[in-house]
């Protein structure tokens, strides 16, 4: 996998490999992360993201490869010598120390003089708005408060790199939404480079500037959230992020500015060329929200217009979700927002409907 | 990490020197000949003749009285067998008494459980020898129990309770009961009692559910408890000394007598080695089942 081309990396991993006995947990991962950006490692459990994070922190040593932070190879350095700090998934607050001592812990190990220590700890606690709780012990705080202490503690030493391990995993949904923005604000305010690990794509898309999608130890795609969402590089990424409809077929037309793929559902038109051989097997990915649905045949639509029967309907409050069975038997996912009350409520099960999408909605995937 | 070698090394060295080495010496001594006043043992290796002087007689004399004596008729064999039987009975009695005890504590409310456990352990924290000693007083011919039985009219003459099998077993069960209860408790308290509810739901009676579900699930605790009682009680010394008579000689006492009264250290060593061999299998059973659920002494 090629590193991100063209940017001077602040944190660079060069072909990092981690092998545990027989199992290959991280397979030649090369990444280049810019200073000050929030970068997410996204994937389901077992994809290697946590192992990679632990290697960045220093709790695992790479089997081979280099890890460069500001040009310095830190791969063999023990965690207590690295200018890197981590916020743990379980927060890992020291239960026998109060909040103030928890935050001060790292600074004390540095030999920070008393006055400066006081000032910086106070600064950190104010940053996360827990100044009044300084003398409380972790078990006297709620989950959200504990998380803020963990964050303050990990920022106290002004690390060059901040690592977040599933930062929102322990919080319930409502709290999660609130905290996502708070976290980003604090991190951007401090200006520290941040690598986070998560299995939740929403979390990654909201919080990170760029995302690396990982599977089976390899990085499949690196890019900004919209790039990954709109232009997934392969099936796995397309399917992993959000929902997607995949149409397998063969490239039937390929011009500079448009192409077409012959699929089981019919001919699908795409508004850009792919420079591939004719008849090569490809798949077209179309997101459910890009498909429109109606009981009446729409006028003025040519291309990418198909029909089917509604098999399932689900109401999600802000949008409707339909599962439509096309004439070839394939089930298509379609979502439509509820822009006015009782919109589209005239569509019901077993209705014959038309569905269509613009030729700019689909993405051609080669594998 | 260099620290790692130190941390592992210190306890390892201690154990090798004070646990492993003594056993090697024990084995060694069991093969040498008894010596004179200055040297308690003859050497194992005759430097002049270059011959290994293994005295197997130490072992053979355990099994037969003389070169032509009948096999397995010795005092030693008797006391080994007796020890095994006593230990077995003690373990079983502890199981029968201790299992329901542990079960009912495990099923009590969490606050009560702690109090009950403390009440169980409190006697344990007071000297065990004193408590065994007390039984001497209770069971003697002029002791409380006999007076009570006479008063109630069960008997007219005081019963011979002391220095019998009965007093021995009471003493043994008394001392070893917590060692059975604790591993059982540790196991039962972790059990999910909703499994029983599921069984009731499917039509099983409480009695059946107990035998088909609770007991099998507590198997590790039962084995751990049995071994924790059986193995040490086989070599029990204090209880037979205080509450047992001449007929109740157990192997622990025999080893002592051989060491300090007959002054035959090699044979005492041989007896001890044999005891080790006998408890080897039960010990392996314990390590397999008990190490995770074993008593933590609280």
């Amino acid at each position: 996998m090629l590193p991100d081309v063209g940017k001077e990396g602040f944190l660079v991993t060069e072909k990092v490999v981690k092998r545990f006995d027989e199992a290959l947990a991280v397979d030649e991962v090369s990444l280049s992360i810019e200073q000050g950006e929030i970068f997410a490692l996204l994937g389901s459990s077992g994809c290697g993201k946590s192992t990679l994070l632990r290697m960045l922190a220093g709790f695992e040593k790479p089997t081979s490869g280099r890890i460069l932070l500001g040009g310095q190879d830190v791969a063999q350095m023990p965690p207590y010598e690295r200018p890197i700090n981590m916020m743990f998934q379980s927060y890992a607050l020291f239960p026998h120390l109060d909040i103030w001592e928890n935050v001060a812990f790292g600074l004390k190990r540095e030999g920070c003089p008393k006055d400066e220590l006081k000032r910086r700890v106070g600064e950190m606690l104010d940053l996360v708005q827990l100044g009044d709780y300084a003398r409380r012990k972790p078990h006297q705080l709620s989950g959200g408060q504990q998380q803020r202490v963990a964050l303050a503690r990990s920022l106290a030493k002004r690390p060059k790199l901040l690592l977040l391990d599933e930062p929102l995993g322990a919080l319930d949904k409502k709290l999660r939404e609130q905290t996502q923005f708070e976290l980003v604000n604090i991190i951007e305010k401090v200006g520290v480079t941040c690598v986070m690990v998560t299995h939740d794509q929403e979390e990654a898309m909201i919080m990170a500037r760029r995302i690396a999608v990982m599977s089976k130890g390899r990085v499949l795609q690196v890019g900004a959230p919209q790039d990954i969402y709109e232009f997934p590089v392969n099936r796995f990424v397309a399917d992993f992020i959000g929902n997607v409809n995949l149409f397998d077929g063969h490239l039937s037309v390929d011009e500079i500015d448009h192409c077409a793929v012959q699929t089981a559902i019919g001919e699908v038109q795409i508004g850009h060329g792919v420079s591939g051989a004719l008849n090569m097997p490809v798949a077209v990915a179309v997101r459910p929200e890009k498909i429109e649905i109606s009981k009446t045949r729409p006028s003025g639509v040519d291309g990418n217009l198909f029909s089917g029967r509604v098999k399932e309907i689900a109401y999600f409050g802000s949008y409707n979700s339909f599962l439509v069975q096309a004439s070839n038997g394939q089930k298509i996912k379609i979502t439509e927002p509820n822009t006015t009350r009782h919109d589209l409520s005239d569509i019901t099960w077993e209705d014959e409907v038309f569905f269509w999408w613009s030729n700019r909605a689909g993405v051609v995937l080669r594998d | 990490m260099p620290g790692r070698r130190f941390v592992i090394g210190v306890p390892y060295a201690w154990l090798l020197i004070f646990f492993f080495l003594p056993f090697l010496i024990l084995l060694y001594i069991s093969f040498v000949d008894m010596g004179n006043e200055v040297h308690p043992f003859q050497p194992l290796w005759d430097a002049e003749q270059g011959v290994l002087l293994l005295k197997f007689e130490n072992y053979w004399s355990i099994f037969r009285t003389g070169p032509d004596g009948a096999l397995f008729q010795t005092l030693y064999v008797e006391s080994y067998l007796r020890s095994i039987v006593y230990a077995l009975i003690t373990a079983l009695l502890c199981l029968v008494i201790g299992y329901p005890f542990a079960y009912f504590i495990a099923r009590s409310a969490p606050e009560t459980r702690l109090i009950l456990l403390m009440m169980l352990m409190l006697p344990f924290w007071t000297s065990f020898m004193l408590r065994v000693f007390a039984w001497k007083g209770i069971l003697s011919d002029f002791g409380v129990l006999n007076q009570f039985l006479i008063w109630v009219g069960v008997t007219e003459e005081p019963l011979r309770l002391l220095y019998t099998d009965f007093s021995m077993l009471i003493g043994m069960v008394y001392v070893y009961l917590p060692f059975m209860v604790l591993p059982l408790y540790a196991n039962l308290v972790k059990m999910d009692f909703r499994l029983l509810e599921a069984a009731y739901d499917l039509g099983a009676s409480p009695f059946k559910a107990f035998w088909l579900i609770t007991v099998p699930l507590s198997k590790p605790g039962i084995i751990a408890g049995m071994m924790l009682v059986f193995i040490p009680s086989m070599g029990e010394f204090v209880v037979p000394s205080l509450l047992g008579g001449a007929d109740n000689l157990m192997i622990g006492r025999v080893v002592w007598d051989e060491m300090f009264i007959a002054n035959n250290w090699p044979r005492a060593a041989a007896l001890a080695v044999l005891m080790l061999v006998l408890i080897l299998v039960p010990m392996m059973l314990y390590f397999r089942y008990g190490v995770r659920d074993s008593a933590d002494g609280r």
């Binding site: 812990f105 | 592992i8 201690w14 079960y103 003697s140 029990e236 205080l242 002494g297």
Partner: protein
């Protein structure tokens, strides 16, 4: 019927077993105040046995010796036990791990006669080779420590396994070197278990008879030794007085410890409930 049995069988059984367990204790306490040597009939209240107890130098000396031995044993056993627990919990793979684990736990199960005898042989051998140590306090302490260490290890091990490993990683991440991690983070969190281990080893040592008998030398007697020598000879109510004092002391400690634990648990629960109500 089954319901009544279910409800009350438990309590009945518990009561009977507790009766069995406490009968000797009650007996000794009662008869320590008896005015005569009789141990079946209570002839009258008297403190004569307590007087005799305090006057009996052998018992008093034995008590002091036992305290000293038990204290040193407790410390050694707690330290070594913590080492063993740490090794077994933190280091999953090292050469001879099963052997180590076996050696550390075996004294807990083994008959004391075997331990006593083999240690005695070691001491005698050491005397022949090195000229020491003399049988006495040191040899007794070594024997007791071997036993106490096994129990101490189990206590500390169980607590160590509960401690969240990530706090140790967090400490390292924040700049603490491995030995700092142990003393600043791990140790404070297992301290209660180490204290419990000390107390357990102390009790086992204070109470030990068999290993002591094998390993002690002339002129040194622990309290159990003294009592054992009295006990094989016959009934002596002075012993009951000693027992009563011991029971009272232990009960005092156990009850106050239980109350302290209950109070701090309640306090902790209150604080946690407050935190939850206080909001995020």
């Amino acid at each position: 019927m089954t319901n009544w049995l279910n409800k009350h069988l438990g309590k009945v059984w518990l009561a009977l077993v507790f009766l069995f367990l406490y009968a000797p204790l009650a007996f000794m306490i009662l008869f320590s105040f008896n005015s005569t040597r009789q141990h079946a009939v209570f002839t009258g209240f008297s403190l004569r046995w307590y007087e005799a107890l305090l006057a009996d130098t052998r018992i008093v000396e034995g008590f002091i010796v036992s305290l000293q031995v038990a204290f040193v044993t407790g410390l050694l056993a707690a330290v070594l036990g913590t080492f063993c627990a740490f090794v077994l919990v933190r280091y999953q793979r090292f050469w001879g791990r099963t052997v180590f684990s076996g050696m550390a736990t075996a004294p807990m199960v083994m008959p004391e006669v075997i331990i006593g005898l083999s240690l005695l042989l070691l001491m005698v051998g050491a005397q022949n080779v090195f000229g020491g140590p003399e049988r006495g306090l040191i040899t007794i302490i070594i024997g007791h420590t071997l036993l106490g260490m096994a129990f101490a290890m189990v206590v500390v091990q169980s607590r160590l396994q509960e401690v969240d490993r990530s706090i140790e990683e967090a400490a390292m991440d924040l700049g603490a070197r491995p030995h700092q991690v142990f003393f600043l983070v791990t140790l404070p969190n297992i301290a209660p278990a180490i204290l419990a281990a000390f107390l357990l080893a102390f009790t086992l040592s204070f109470d030990d008879v068999v290993i002591t008998l094998f390993l002690s030398g002339p002129g040194v007697s622990t309290l159990p030794q003294v009592i054992f020598n009295y006990a094989v000879r016959g009934i002596n109510p002075t012993i009951y007085a000693a027992a009563t004092l011991l029971i009272l002391t232990v009960t005092l400690f156990v009850v106050s410890y239980a109350l302290w634990v209950a109070r701090s648990t309640r306090k902790r629960q209150r604080e946690m409930a407050q935190a939850l109500r206080g909001g995020a």
